[in-house]
């Protein structure tokens, strides 16, 4: 790909994660072959230093599994991950620990991701203890205050003494962000960080995350199903379908000039706050639902739902990502005709 190597903080090459489903006794006696669940099935992308990279997809597209692979919470079946110039696909325990310090995660549910019996001080000190960050209590407090200030929870000292249940959803997500910042990471993986937050405060959290990113020069991998926030929040977007990236490029281009029929369908389905649409039945270019990753269709994996599919789409080999110029990649062989 055209991005220069030293600009890249994370390069993922042909990453795969296949799960072996659990089989009952009868099934294994019946001798039927097991069907692999191909959650992530050959994903490649590069994230530049200091950019916000969005991974978009429906449930079942493999976006969260990709996030977990990047966090090294699960082991890939095959493929390569190069972080900051170093191959981190296979690492020993100590290196994994060090990697997790550099790549931190913000989880979806700010209500479940914090121990209810911990005060905010303890919530933030826990990563310091786990990663054996040197310093006495006073030094740690100083770091806690610094990270709370970075996420604009003022006055920090007051918040340190509170319990999670005393905070609103938005404040919790700020604490969750502070908890990642305290380790001075280079990259954050945020999996649907605002989907459980009220619409009125969603923008506030996204603003805060963007400010923090600019102030500290961080890189984000933002995982979501919500195209509207992705457009607002990200620099580049990759659209996933059934374990593979089908389109990737600058956020504005993906939304304004999508090339892949799946991206087009996603965009047409998003509601917009405009009047005059109540009596309309929305025309949806694609029908049905995403197939099971245990039964990935042959050829182009989208052909079963694609309105433009021809025989070649199912008969020939799956198209790889092709360059359409300006860093805009797509995986549709008929893109010029549609």
């Amino acid at each position: 790909m055209s991005i220069k190597d030293d600009d890249v903080i994370l390069r993922v090459e042909n990453l795969k994660k296949h799960f072996m489903p659990h089989q009952g006794l009868l099934q294994s006696l019946s001798g039927k072959p097991k069907k692999l669940i191909k959650a992530v099935d050959g994903v490649s992308f590069s994230i530049r230093r200091g950019e916000i990279f969005g991974l978009i997809g429906e449930s079942g597209s493999g976006k969260t599994t990709t996030g977990k692979l990047v966090m090294k919470l699960i082991e890939p079946t095959s493929g390569k991950m190069i972080f900051n110039g170093e191959d981190v696909t296979q690492t020993d325990k100590a290196r994994t620990q060090a990697y997790r310090r550099q790549v931190q995660m913000i989880f979806q549910d700010p209500y479940a991701s914090m121990n209810p019996r911990f005060k905010i001080r303890d919530v933030l000190q826990e990563p310091l203890i786990i990663h054996k960050i040197e310093g006495d209590q006073a030094k740690h407090e100083e770091m806690i205050i610094k990270s709370l200030t970075e996420v604009k929870l003022n006055p920090p000292v007051e918040f340190m003494g509170r319990y999670p249940h005393m905070l609103s959803g938005g404040q919790r997500q700020r604490v969750a962000t502070a908890r990642t910042l305290i380790l001075n990471p280079m990259m954050l993986v945020a999996d649907e960080p605002v989907s459980m937050i009220d619409l009125s405060t969603r923008a506030e959290i996204l603003h805060m995350m963007k400010d923090v990113q600019r102030d500290l020069g961080l890189t984000y991998l933002y995982i979501t199903h919500d195209l509207s926030t992705a457009r607002y929040f990200t620099d580049r977007i990759a659209v996933m379908y059934l374990g593979k990236i089908v389109e990737m490029g600058p956020a504005n281009e993906i939304i304004d000039e999508p090339l892949h029929p799946y991206t087009k369908a996603l965009i047409s389905a998003v509601p917009e706050p405009e009047t005059g649409k109540v009596d309309l039945i929305k025309e949806l270019p694609i029908s049905g639902e995403i197939p099971s990753p245990a039964n990935v269709p042959p050829g182009c994996r989208f052909h079963t739902r694609c309105p433009y599919a021809k025989l070649e789409c199912s008969a020939e080999a799956e198209p790889e990502l092709m360059d359409a110029g300006n860093g805009h990649y797509h995986a549709c062989r008929r893109w010029k005709e549609i």
């Binding site: 619409l199 009125s200 509601p271």
Partner: protein
């Protein structure tokens, strides 16, 4: 158009040990036949509480207070006994698709058995007849009859939502309350369900109350929009009045709309509303929105604004709109 539902001075209070939570305070609106009325607002503003109140089943310690009126198709249901409500109103006249209902299907029964339960409870029907009816309704929501023998875990979220909608329509209600019916679904499935709901509404001559926090979705579904804040109506207007050129009149609606990210238009900054909805045991003096309002005046802190009709069909509770 005839009015199918009229709500007058609806008050629902929770009597807790800490004090009285005024979850709904003098809410009045009506629903016309064949209309979809949207209820929007942040969490904790009384949207779902309104829905549950219309079925007359507030969760304890909630109580619908004296003086509230809920008139369904010309009959006030407040004086009815619980037994009558169960027999005549719930699911017979007013049905509700609860939030996350698709996750409440029993995992150990087949879809057919669960749907059968509703029918056997309310209708004198043998199993063969009931199975026929279930198949008919499954077809209406776009599902093959084999689904009857499936278990919930074998179905996707969109399919389960279709089952729940079909079950709500079984007894031919006149009004269906839909509480966040598409919130947990992906956008394409969401659009499919919305299309389905629009078709069913025509087929069965239904009236909808559509509860959601998503103003963009509301714009595509609702004829009229009722914006709620802290247990009260802040603004009520037609789709064109809220989403049209002139835009909404209440600062709360205005901010909510500005906080909705748009897909087709790139914006540099999104707006948000600082703070959170107030504690309803001790709501702020004056207008309940005043501590968070960007257009607040002195009067707003002192006196509560009345809900006034500022143009035909457009009601706003804001001192800025009172001439």
């Amino acid at each position: 158009m005839d009015t199918i539902l009229e709500v007058k001075n609806l008050r629902l209070y929770y009597h807790t040990s800490k004090g009285v939570v005024k979850a709904l305070d003098n809410v009045s609106f009506n629903l016309k036949k064949g209309e979809t009325l949207g209820l929007v607002g942040e969490s904790g503003c009384g949207k779902t509480t309104t829905g549950v109140a219309l079925l007359r089943m507030p969760s304890p310690p909630g109580r619908i207070e004296e003086g509230s009126q809920i008139v369904v198709d010309g009959r006030d249901i407040m004086p009815l006994s619980d037994k009558q409500i169960r027999k005549d109103v719930r699911w017979e006249e007013v049905a509700m698709v609860f939030q996350g209902a698709m996750n409440c299907l029993t995992p150990v029964y087949t879809i057919g058995k669960q749907m059968m339960e509703t029918l056997q409870e309310h209708r004198d029907m043998d199993k063969v007849q009931a199975a026929e009816l279930i198949k008919e309704y499954l077809n209406l929501v776009g599902m093959p009859p084999e689904v009857m023998n499936r278990y919930p875990h074998e179905l996707s979220g969109g399919m389960k939502q279709r089952i729940v909608i079909a079950t709500a329509l079984f007894l031919k209600p006149k009004i269906v309350i839909l509480d966040e019916p598409t919130t947990a679904l992906d956008v394409i499935v969401q659009a499919q369900i919305i299309n389905l709901l629009k078709k069913l509404k025509k087929t069965f001559d239904l009236s909808f109350i559509f509860i959601t926090h998503d103003l963009a979705l509301e714009a595509e579904v609702c004829d009229r929009i009722c914006v709620m804040y802290a247990g009260k109506i802040a603004e009520l207007g037609t789709n064109a009045q809220i989403y049209g050129k002139q835009g909404p009149m209440h600062p709360y609606t205005e901010k909510l709309l500005q906080a909705t990210p748009l897909l087709k238009k790139k914006v540099d900054t999104l707006s948000f509303i600082p703070g959170a909805p107030p504690d309803l045991i001790d709501p702020p003096k004056g207008c309940r929105f005043n501590p968070r309002c960007h257009k607040v005046m002195d009067k707003c802190r002192e006196e509560e604004p009345p809900l006034l009709e500022i143009e035909p069909g457009h009601m706003v509770a804001c001192w800025r709109c009172v001439k």
